[in-house]
Subunit: 322 residues, 2 copies
DNA sequence: TTGAAAGCGTTACCAT
DNA sequence: ATGGTAACGCTTTCAA
C-alpha cells in the first residue's frame, strides 16, 4: 500500500513493517510514470545547456545535481548540442513534454518564442550565468568582475593591456562576453589608457583557442605587457603561448583570468574567482523552493574575489616608461 | 487525436492537418508521464557515472547524448557523486524507478546486489570503459593499449621507464587501472627491464595529481628517462612537472599517455588515442538497438591508435648506457 | 486504520 | 478513416 511505503500517517506500525518487508523482498519500486501522472510531480528537474564539455557548464551541473540528488530529484539533460541544430526539437520534444518539474538554463539566450514556451509550461525556471529578461537568475556581476580584473593590472602599473574575450556564439548568452569587454574598456578608459583594435581578441572561452589568439598577440613587436582573459581557460592558453614564445610569466607578461578553474593553481594563475558549483546548488535550491511554493526568491548576484597567485606582477621597467 | 500527432497510418490528410494545426495553436505537447504509462516506453535513457567533472566521462556522455538526441531520446543523469554516499539512494530511488528504457554505465564497478537489481529491471544495459561480468560492454583493450604505449618507449631506446597509473577508487572499475599496469609490466618484463617499486606511482587520472606524482618521480637522482601515464591528463601533469623542474620534454624525459585528450595537441603529447565520444555513441546505439529487439549485439572492443606528437624521443646518450 | 474506487493523460484495441 | 473505451500503475479521496 502506497501510504506505508511513503511514510504517511495513519498506518499501523505492524502493517507498515509488513508492507515494507514485502516490497523489499519483491524488489518493488513505484513507477515514476504512474506516480507522476497521479501527482503531477515528476521529481525531476531539467538542465538546459549548450554542452557538457566545458568546465563552467559541468561544474554548475555538478552543483545542481548534488543539490537535487540530496532531495531525491533526478537531473535530466537537455543538451542543445554545440551546433544547436537539434535546438528546436529538444525544446519541443523534451522540455515541453512535462517530463520535469522545473528548468534550469545555463548561459543560454532564448528567443522570444522560446521564452513564451517556457513560460507556458508554468513551472519554475532559473537561469545561471547570464541574465535573461523575465527569468530569475543567479550569476556574478559580469561587468564589475571584468573591471576589477583590469584595475588590478592597472594598479600594478600596466598600461599596455590586451583583452582576450569570448565570441558571440549562436544561441549562447551574448551578454556575458559583451559585459566583460565593456568592464575592461571602462576600466581602461577611466585610467586614460588606449586599447588598439587588435588587442580586443577573442578566444572562445577555450584553452586551445586562447593559446592561438595569444600567440598572435604576443608576437607583435609592441606587445602588451598584460592580458586580461575573460576566462581562466583562455588565460591558461595565454600562459601556454607565452612559454612557447620564450616569455616568462609574469616577468615578461602578466595574465589574469576569471573563474578560479581547477587548473588555475597549477598554472599559478591570478584570477577573479567565481563559484560555479555553488551557483549550481543555489539555482537548484531556488527552483526547489519555488516548487514548494516559497514564492520565487528574486535573482541572486553572487560575489567574486580576486585571488592573487603568481601570474601578475608589475611590468618590466622599460615598459613602464612607454 | 493521438494517431494524427504521431504520424500513424489510417488518418486522412485533412484530419491530420487539422489536428496538427490545432495542437500547434494550443501549444499542446503530449505528457511524457501519461504516454510512458500507456506504452511502457519512457523515451529516456539513464547514464550512470561517477561524476561529470572528468574529461573521459563528459566526452562519453556527449557522445551518448548526441546519439540519443538524434532519435528523440532524453538523457537522465544518474550521477553517483564523487564520494559515492548517495549511491544506494540513486540506485533505488532513481534507476529502479523505471524512469528510463535502458541504462548505460560508465567505468563503474557494481556490487553483485546492484547487478542483480539492474538485471531485474529487465531493460538493456551497456557498460562503457571497463568490463563488468555479465553485462555487454564497449571499450578498448586496456591491457594491450598499455603494452603498446610501453613498447613504443622501449622501441625508442628507453630502459628506465616509470608508470603513472590510476588509483583504486571506491565504486570505480578497478580493472581499468589494473589492466593498464599489467600491460606496462608485461612489456617491461618481456624486454627484460626492471621497474623499481616507487616507479609505479599513482595520479588518480588527474592533471594536478599527476603533476604532484611526477614532481616526486623526476626529482630523484636516478630519475626515469620516460614516463608512461595511464591517461593524458596525468601525462600533461608530467609535462607540467618536468617544465617546473627545468627539464625539457622530450629531450630530458619522454612522456606518453592514453586518450588523445583535447589538450594533447597543445602539449604535443604522444598518446594512444581512444575515442570516448564514439564509444558513447556506440553504447547508445547498442542500447537503442536492443530496445528495438535487435537481439543484443555482443560486446565491442574499439581500436586504439598511436599518435606520435612531440613528447617522446630517444633517451639522452648518457642514459642509454645505464 | 484499512479497503475500495475514481481519476491522472495517454495509447491501443475494437467497433463502427 | 474515425470514434469509443479499457488499461497503464499510481495517488487521493471517501466509506467502512
Amino acid at each position: 500500500m502506497s501510504r506505508a511505503l511513503r511514510g504517511l500517517p495513519n498506518v499501523s506500525p505492524a502493517t507498515r513493517d509488513l508492507v515494507m518487508a514485502t516490497a523489499e523482498r519483491l524488489g518493488y519500486v513505484a513507477s515514476s510514470a504512474a506516480s507522476g501522472l497521479a501527482t503531477g510531480r515528476t521529481l525531476a528537474m531539467g538542465v538546459v545547456l549548450p554542452n557538457v564539455s566545458r568546465w563552467f557548464y559541468t561544474t554548475v551541473l555538478e552543483g545542481i545535481d548534488a543539490e537535487l540528488r540530496a532531495v531525491g530529484y533526478d537531473t535530466i539533460l537537455f543538451n542543445l548540442g554545440l551546433k544547436g541544430q537539434d535546438r528546436d526539437r529538444v525544446f519541443h520534444r523534451s522540455i515541453l513534454r512535462k517530463r520535469t518539474d522545473g528548468v534550469i538554463a545555463l548561459c543560454l539566450d532564448f528567443t522570444p518564442e522560446e521564452r513564451r514556451q517556457l513560460a507556458s509550461l508554468g513551472h519554475p525556471t532559473v537561469v545561471v550565468g547570464g541574465p535573461v529578461p523575465g527569468l530569475r537568475h543567479v550569476g556574478i556581476d559580469e561587468f564589475g568582475v571584468a573591471r576589477a580584473a583590469t584595475e588590478h593590472l592597472i594598479r600594478l602599473g600596466h598600461r599596455r593591456i590586451a583583452h582576450l574575450g569570448g565570441d558571440d556564439e549562436h544561441g549562447l548568452n551574448k551578454r556575458v562576453p559583451a559585459s566583460r569587454r565593456r568592464g575592461f574598456l571602462r576600466a581602461m578608459g577611466a585610467a586614460g589608457l588606449d586599447v588598439p583594435e587588435p588587442w580586443l581578441a577573442s578566444g572562445g572561452f577555450q584553452i586551445t583557442r586562447g593559446r592561438d589568439a595569444a600567440l598572435r598577440l604576443l608576437q607583435e613587436p609592441d606587445r602588451p605587457t598584460a592580458v586580461f582573459a575573460a576566462s581562466d581557460e583562455m588565460a591558461i592558453g595565454v600562459i601556454l603561448a607565452a612559454r612557447e614564445l620564450g616569455l616568462e610569466v609574469p616577468r615578461d607578461v602578466s595574465v589574469i583570468g576569471i573563474d578560479d578553474h581547477e587548473l588555475a593553481e597549477v598554472f599559478a594563475l591570478t584570477t577573479m574567482a567565481q563559484d560555479p558549483y555553488g551557483q549550481g546548488r543555489l539555482a537548484a535550491r531556488m527552483t526547489l523552493d519555488e516548487l514548494a511554493g516559497a514564492g520565487g526568491r528574486a535573482s541572486v548576484r553572487v560575489p567574486t574575489t580576486l585571488i592573487e597567485r603568481g601570474s601578475t606582477a608589475a611590468p618590466p621597467a622599460d615598459a613602464r616608461e612607454a
